[in-house]
Symmetry: C2
Subunit: 341 residues, 2 copies
């Protein structure tokens, strides 16, 4: 079997570190692994699979000999490295939002649209975390009922703001636990502990945040439904690393609760967690530190308009794993196996 | 001015204590105040407005001489005292859910349907906390646009489970802050700190919780819209005492964002907090410990179906105050003034 040399761009971040674990967990056919980060981190060492790896500064030269670059960096860095990848023939699986809506770039959740990997021209984009987690629950239902509208309210974890977000929430909880003054927020605009912040990203002229528009724009592209109406409200909640979403769906055709449960029970990457009589439903504490998206609270939407059929549901998924690192490594593995050229 | 003798049933609970404060804040024309609770609490003393009041056991005799009973107790206790009130001519303003859907009992949010107090026959029900807070944001809009559907996801504070809920979340945060094992949950079914629990109340056959159905059933009654479709998902979040709600509305007629803002800015009991460019929006930390319901993130619903007009918004309100005690005391004051018989 051919082995692939992989580099991780942004290897010191929460997502970059998780990508290393996922390469092992997913049994990726790995040759050499290069860890790339800013000059500040270069020279630090990291243990990986019994080896000691040294972090290198992310430079164009560092991509020599690399087959696949896993991007876990901000848009500006992704934009800087994309042309280098093309030039050197490196396949760039990028977790930034820089290329997600580029019509030349597939945007992929492997369980939903793996086949889009086939037409990549060097870059494959990994969708936004809340998009992946929500669509994992919705796509198996869209396929059976003629999905015609999605209304989503998110409950997004601190990890979405990276290590600084996690540390800030932790420090606030510690101070609150000790009865001390809470440290000033910096990763978030406001205190997150015992609070909710209804803003993730910047606002557009209509009053939507960039995070809210990602669900619409990326969701349409992944589902191949370019006109699907998707309304979304994104809220940061004081939870560490799993995002949760309350989703209301409208369909052209009737999708019974039983049919929805069957479809979700059979869907790869999804865990049906739906036995309300026994208090069994998805919770972010349970869905953290693993790759499955938990889906439950599936019920008929009692507000669905006449002539429509509606379902309501609730899902939770680990933001760092399926929302970012695991999904990107799944894509990379498909590039190295099923869609190898 | 006539003074009214008031008793509080459940005076040692979070809501009962808040009712005492609200009587003073709202300048209620108060004669004598009796504090009623279980036999266990009888004999304890409480400071109130410079006096020392002794808590009495809640017995039928304790209602002698009382004009208005403020109920802050569970359904079974409310059901036990309702006939006693009728017999003794005491007006019962009850915060339990026992009588809310009784067609003989007005269910009142004073800013919305104060006039329903006029037809009471001895009992007036105080709506559920999440119903009051959501409707404070929705009613001013329903009036102008021909409201035809509500889809709501709630983010409900620990205080909804009373003092035990508040203490449990606090103890969990303290343990987490100290790096200790978290105490076992008892007020909630699961750990709430750094978690979300998508169940408030018990489940019906359709998979809805009692809390979710309250928003539909109580909302329809308060708005005088007996067929309004209302779909709701209720979620407990690790926040102390303000509930928040993400609300999507559909109207027959166009309601512009500007018109919605004007209506909400003019609505009594509402504070318009809606300047996203300056990161100004409702947050539960800000809306706590005061009576106004904060409304913001008002925007066109970009998923509204053709032929409909939609708005999305976000609101927060103190669950103990406007969600319970303040609203009940407002009703009592109207009983003692505008609707005095």
């Amino acid at each position: 079997m051919k082995l692939y040399n992989v580099a991780i761009l942004g290897a010191t971040g929460v997502v970059g570190k998780q990508m290393m674990e996922c390469l092992l967990e997913q049994d990726f056919p790995l040759g050499e692994l290069k860890l790339l980060a800013s000059a500040r981190s270069a020279g630090k060492t990291v243990e990986f699979n019994g080896q000691t790896l040294t972090i290198q500064e992310a430079t164009p030269e560092a991509l020599d000999g690399v087959d696949i670059l896993l991007g876990a960096a901000e848009n500006d860095i992704a934009e800087r490295f994309a042309p280098v990848c093309r030039e050197k023939g490196v396949v760039f699986v990028d977790n930034s939002s820089a290329f997600r809506l580029d019509p030349e770039v597939p945007l992929v959740v492997p369980e939903i649209n793996a086949q889009d990997i086939a037409w990549h021209t060097g870059i494959i984009a990994n969708p936004n975390c809340s998009t992946i987690i929500g669509l994992m629950a919705v796509a198996p239902l869209a396929a059976i009922g003629g999905l015609k509208r999605m209304v989503v309210s998110t409950y997004q974890a601190a990890s979405g703001a990276g290590i600084r977000g996690l540390q800030e929430l932790e420090a606030q909880m510690q101070a609150m636990g000790r009865g001390e003054q809470l440290p000033e927020p910096s990763a978030f605009a406001y205190q997150l502990c015992s609070n909710l912040i209804p803003q993730i990203g910047g606002f557009d002229e209509e009053g939507y945040t960039s995070e809210e528009m990602k669900l619409q724009n990326e969701g349409r592209k992944i589902l191949h439904m370019p006109n699907l109406p998707i309304g979304c409200t994104c809220v940061r909640v004081p939870v560490m690393r799993s995002h949760s979403e309350s989703i209301t769906l409208e369909f052209d055709d009737e999708v019974t609760v039983a049919a929805a449960r069957d479809a979700l029970a059979a869907a790869p990457g999804v865990k049906l967690v739906d036995d309300p009589a026994n208090k069994v439903y998805p919770m972010p504490l349970d869905s953290s530190d693993q790759d499955l998206v938990y889906v439950g609270r599936i019920r008929r939407d009692i507000s669905a308009p006449e002539g429509s059929y509606g379902l309501a549901l609730w899902c939770c998924g680990d933001q760092i794993r399926k929302g970012a690192a695991s999904n990107a490594v799944q894509i990379a593995k498909l590039v190295a196996t099923t869609y190898a050229r």
